[in-house]
């Protein structure tokens, strides 16, 4: 991640390095809906293998940013390179090597879990698909629910299935929008542990939008703080805690959300 001058808002900066050095390289990214400026000239880079948190209150621009990184949303201006591919001209090459999970985007309810995993296994061209599904079922404890319709699962089970779908193609880049939203602490911890294991095993890059500050402190090596469509601060959790003179990220989040002054140098 580009960490130069972390105190300055990151308006359209990009590092002077080869794009291939970054898993994500965003420059001057803007999204406007009519009069509403959802994302305002942001720039950041994420190095391969890092887990980066994208934080901010509701309407800060996190989901819009992730949607643009996924190619679901066309930016008004700016550029996005993912895994060395320009998302404006070459997004399918990047999409094959990345995946996405969000509790707000469902998998077909009437399909069984194993059928959903097969569908996405085929869409991502996964080799030895049945073996991969069995592997994920073991890792995420899905064995007992593989033949159940996805719509009949509990929230925790749905989240584990969504994570299995997101890992089906062994992605190099994982974009997660609130991966543990509405989960009990036990399942939330399981999901976080599996993500840590996956990253340790594969060296995958993870961009994580979350409102759970404990999760961010645990998983993320770096954090981008968004507000009103802009990146207003960035750094490692430890750097941000020191900068704001706070004990935990929840307080840092509130300081930024409520425009409180920093209390430490």
């Amino acid at each position: 991640m580009d960490l130069h001058s972390p105190l300055r808002p990151a308006r359209g900066r990009r590092a002077d390095r080869l794009p291939e050095a970054w898993a994500i390289d965003v420059a001057h990214l803007t999204k406007r809906y009519g009069d509403v400026l959802a994302v305002d000239d942001i720039g950041f880079t994420v190095a391969p293998g890092q887990t980066v948190g994208l934080l901010g209150g509701n309407g800060a621009g996190k989901t819009t940013t992730i949607a643009m990184l996924l190619g679901l949303l066309i930016p008004t201006s700016g550029s996005i390179r993912v895994l060395g591919h320009d998302m404006a001209t070459d997004r399918f090459a990047a999409l094959a090597r990345m995946n996405f999970s969000s509790p707000y985007v469902a998998l077909p309810h009437r399909l069984r879990v194993v059928e959903n995993l097969r569908v996405y296994g085929h869409l991502y061209g996964v080799r030895h698909l049945e073996r991969r599904i069995a592997q994920l079922a073991g890792t995420l404890d899905l064995g007992a629910i593989l033949d159940r319709p996805s719509g009949e699962l509990s929230a925790g089970q749905k989240t584990r299935v969504a994570l299995a779908k997101a890992l089906i193609n062994t992605p190099d880049l994982l974009l997660l929008d609130e991966p543990t939203a509405s989960l009990d602490p036990d399942i939330g911890d399981l999901v976080r542990t599996r993500l840590e294991d996956y990253r340790a095993d594969t060296g995958c890059t993870i961009l994580l939008a979350s409102h759970n500050m404990a999760e961010v402190e645990r998983l993320c090596s770096h954090v981008l703080m968004m507000k009103r469509g802009q990146i207003v601060d960035r750094g490692s959790p430890a750097e941000l805690l020191a900068r704001y003179g706070r004990e935990d990220m929840e307080e840092v989040f509130l300081d930024i959300a409520r425009d409180r002054q920093r209390t430490a140098a």
């Binding site: 999409l95 869409l123 779908k165």
Partner: protein, 276 residues
């Protein structure tokens, strides 16, 4: 290349992605007999109503009306090809909207043309499942053999199928543009074109000012051609050529519209919100 990199390299290409999307729908039909029954229901019902009507007219009025009855049954069966072809594409797309699955599909490496190919593939599957029982029933109950039209039947069917497809892409474009408010068009648009398609009567029956509308539709040419085969035993290649040319024009327009609306949906963020 390491073993891990090899495992991560996609295999199968376009064919596999098209199959993946078709598998998503076939898996539902595989174990749901009500879904399969629903596919056959309307074509068979239409066949029964119009078949018995044609039989009744033939009993009362003799051979010339019996031929007209055959034209009626042929019209019903061929029109079902357009209807089911259109519904097959539209329903395949709407299933993704209803299950709020579009975002997952569009962040996968499937190309738009592969998605179109999967929708057309599912349309063909649904067509065979829905129309073949009605064709069989027409033969069993009314001794009407649609295949007696000869090889030209393939050309009639292909033209009507393609017409169903371009209407489906028009409807799908409207759903992308206006959301689920445009959904009712999936069930009604082709029915609205029935009066101008000359399914059960010649174009000459229409008022003079409506005839250009009818002749701008491939279906009117197909049904004029079908009546020529059944009534006079001649193949009207001029009508078939007109139907094919019109289909090329309409299909090109529909695909351009669909591609434009898909891009507009990506600009507005509709792929994330459609279905909500």
């Amino acid at each position: 290349m390491s073993a891990a990199q090899l495992a991560n390299t996609p295999s199968g290409g376009s064919t596999r992605r098209v199959w993946g999307l078709m598998y998503r729908h076939l898996a539902l039909y595989r174990r749901s007999w009500p879904r399969l029954l629903e596919l056959m229901y309307w074509p068979v019902l239409q066949m029964l109503i119009w078949g018995f009507t044609a039989q009744f007219l033939a009993m009362r009025s003799g051979n010339p009306v019996a031929v007209a009855g055959g034209v009626l049954i042929g019209g019903v069966l061929l029109w079902e090809i357009a209807l089911r072809g259109q519904m097959g594409v539209t329903m395949t797309f709407l299933e993704e909207v209803w299950s709020r699955n579009l975002a997952h599909i569009f962040v996968s490496p499937i190309r738009p043309w592969e998605m179109v190919a999967a929708m057309l593939g599912m349309s063909l599957v649904r067509l065979f499942v829905s129309v073949l029982p009605a064709i069989f029933l027409a033969w069993v109950l009314y001794r009407f053999n649609l295949f007696a039209l000869g090889p030209v039947l393939v050309l009639f069917a292909a033209n009507l199928l393609v017409m169903g497809w371009w209407i489906a892409f028009g409807v799908t474009s409207l759903v992308l543009r206006h959301g689920q408010g445009a959904e009712p068009l999936a069930w009604t648009l082709l029915f609205a074109l029935t009066p101008f398609s000359a399914v059960f009567y010649p174009v000459a029956v229409l008022p003079f000012w409506l005839r250009p509308v009818a002749l701008a539709l491939p279906s009117a040419h197909v049904f004029e051609g079908m009546r020529a085969v059944l009534n006079q035993g001649v193949i009207r290649w001029d009508h078939l050529a007109a139907a094919a040319a019109l289909n090329v024009v309409w299909m090109t327009g529909a695909i351009v519209l669909f591609a434009a609306q898909l891009r507009a949906a990506r600009t507005r963020g509709a792929l994330l919100t459609i279905g909500e």
